[in-house]
Amino acid sequence: MKFVKIIFLILITLSSLPGQSIRLIIFPELNTLDLSAFATVEELQGAPRVFCVDIFPTGQYVVLEGNVEWRRVGSNEYEQLLHFVTKPFISRTLCNDDIDRVDVKLQDFDSNNSLIEANIRLGKPTGTYRLTVILFDSAKTEELSRDQRELLFLNPTQTLTIINPRPNNSYDAGNLLVEWTPVQGVNEYFIRASERDDPAQSLEDALVKGIPLVSLKSVGIATSVNLREILDRELKPGSEVVLQVSGNIPGPSGGRKIFSEIVNFTIFNPESQYYSILIERAMRALIKLGDNELIELLRSGQIKPEQLQIRKDDGSIMTFEEFVIFLESNPDNILRIIRE
């Protein structure tokens, strides 16, 4: 219902009446707006003020009919997400946080719930949304005006984002920290991970049908976890893993689930040649700073790269491979190494 309200308010902003004018004020621009942010608050009036619309003149009774369609990325066809008709309401200046505090109510409503669920599972607005609004007089006998707009989400923002591991990177089996962005309203996060044994398999298929490694395990409200601590099955060196984080937002009918994108990454094989080459490359890059204790410890095998926790001063995580590439690509900008 909340989703309907969001779409409904957006549609109101897009409608136009003959002889009337509408001025839409959006913070920020609509094409960068994360619509799913609305799904994280229980009531829309609790959401931040994202947009307002000025309708001139005010005080006229109107009825609005709307249709929302969605075209998946790569598809040519639109599928209907929802359709609605309002009860007569007085044209006015509206903001999204005015919802339920104004007399704009729905008369009819139908939706494709499986398609809406598919949108939510993507965790972000994706593809193209086509919004059509038709404005009628208060008796809904005469069409006054209609408008249509397509919203293309090429580079959308993500509500629940996995910070680490990063797609297509390699990680050590013993030192794999899963970290994601916190989402307001979530009372429980879940991790699901599987082994992708067939590269032809889609990430979604691999998560569901691959060899299960973590089968939807709750981690409470933490926003990071060591994967090793929640594994149902041992990670295989050299294998590819797919992982998704989901969150539960409590509410009526069991609440709502939000999902991160699925990330895929590989598990380092300490025995592999690539791994030993990487250690050599690290030492070659570090030696340019002169002899230092870190190189000595690496050379003597007293510290193993697979046991390293590497973070930048802003808290972001680096893999050992990324660290080596960073050293190699910034030889003139590396200043010194010190022991804390």
């Binding site: 410890l297 046991q307 926790q309 001063d313 003139d332 590396i334 022991r339």
Partner: protein, 231 residues
């Protein structure tokens, strides 16, 4: 007796006010530039003093020298807001002369590399960079000056225009525009070409004066790898 003591105290206060009240006790006010950032080994000296380790917020006065060591950087801000980023192994001397209503700011580079970000100069003001072979007049321009050990000067301009003139030998001159680099030889010849990819990378790199670090937690202890990032 009381009146005499009262007069002595008042006269003393008056005298002190005359002596110190009109003397610029804050050297910052009379400085040419201020060192706003110091990374690793940076030293400065006055004409008659020894080298001193430079700390951030050190004011530099006319004829003061500054030098950077290996992997070291200093950022200087002039009174008009212009900035120079003194890269590693570089030695400079700063000057400022009041001429009429204007202020002439000179930076002499003996050896090394300096990135300049010069604010638009008023008609009567001047920002000049002097090297062993050239003099460059800069007005609202960004770029990089490199002075090699033999005095050869390379001047790459990123934005704006720089007038350059050889001060040795043939004494040639030229105008260097954005995307161009001038080579001023020991013979006083000025050759202007498109900035090479290598020099373009150096130009980009020259803005890196923000010290950051990467933290490595190991079973053998925690290490920090410090590096230069863009501001």
């Amino acid at each position: 007796m009381m009146l005499k003591r009262y007069l002595i105290v008042n006269l003393t206060v008056f005298f002190l006010l005359i002596v110190y009240g009109f003397t610029p006790v804050n050297s910052y006010l009379t400085s040419t530039a201020v060192v706003v950032k110091v990374i690793q080994d940076v030293k400065h000296k006055k004409p008659n003093t020894d080298w001193t380790q430079t700390k951030p917020a050190t004011p530099l006065q006319t004829r003061d020298e500054l030098k950077t060591g290996e992997k070291s950087v200093a950022v200087l801000r002039f009174l008009d807001g212009s900035t120079i980023r003194v890269r590693e192994n570089t030695s400079i001397k700063v000057y400022a002369d009041k001429v009429g209503k204007g202020l002439k700011k000179n930076t002499a580079i003996d050896v090394g590399k300096v990135r300049f970000e010069v604010e638009k100069q008023e008609e009567e003001d001047e920002f000049i960079i002097i090297t062993p072979t050239a003099v460059a007049t800069i007005r609202g321009t960004t770029g990089l000056v490199s002075v090699l050990e033999d005095g050869t000067t390379l001047l790459s301009v990123e934005e704006g225009i720089v007038e350059v003139k050889a001060i040795v030998g043939a004494g040639e001159s030229g105008t260097v525009e954005a995307g161009k680099t001038s080579f001023i030889s020991q013979e006083g010849k000025v050759n202007i070409e498109n900035t090479s990819t290598e020099l373009l990378n150096e130009l980009k790199n020259s803005i890196r004066t923000n010290e950051r670090f990467i933290r490595l937690q190991t079973s053998g202890g925690t290490f920090r790898v410090y590096y230069l990032d863009v501001e």
